[in-house]
Amino acid sequence: MTEQKVNSSSTPKPYHSELSAFWWLKHRYYLLYMLREATVLPLLFFLGCLMYGLYSLSQSEQHWLGFVAFMQQGWVIALNLLAFVASLFHAKTFFELFPRVMPLAPAALMIAGQWLATLGVATVLFLMLGAG
């Protein structure tokens, strides 16, 4: 059937308001969301460090020592500490989302399991690098 047009009369106009680019400042929940998204910024810094390390490794011991010195600077440590904290925040949000996207087991169980994995990886790294 051809739809009959219902002409909306022209006078009254609904009021549209545009979302401002700063909508995420309006509410704590949105701010946390933006923070979650922003965890990738310190992550990028850390990834840069890793690549720098890789690069110096491919060059010479000289370079490597340069890299070590770079990593020992206060601001670099501070940023990497931030990256670490961000990774934990990211992990928390990510682990909590996962069971909702793939409800394979009770959520609490899945969340605990994932934290265990993170802890496990850290421990292995620690044993490999720290205790060796």
Partner: protein
Amino acid sequence: MKPVNTQPKRSDEPIWWALFSAGGVCFAVFLPGLMLLLGVLWPLGFLELSPLNYASLQQLAAFGYGIPALALVGACICLPLFHAAHRIHHGMHDLKLNTGLAGKLLCYGLAALLSATALALLWCVLKQPLV
């Protein structure tokens, strides 16, 4: 109500989302430990990281750790790069920076480029003659 007729175009997002998700897992599972150790404890000298001197790293590379090293770079650098690219791409949309296709190309392109670089560097490390 208007009848809906247009069949929307299939989005290529599944590719990026898959990379993003994989990267997110790595970011959450591998990176916290790595960041803590390499980024904080080691530079502060809290740990005696014996394998982390130039010689032993070279050693490791030489003795057939090629595949694990590849996996490590993939999990700790490449996938997280795509994870970050994805979030930045969407973050720009969230901030109403309408960068369109260019922004998308830039984000994922850069992630791809950097990933390739990381892999190339690894290749150089592995190919390096022992000193």
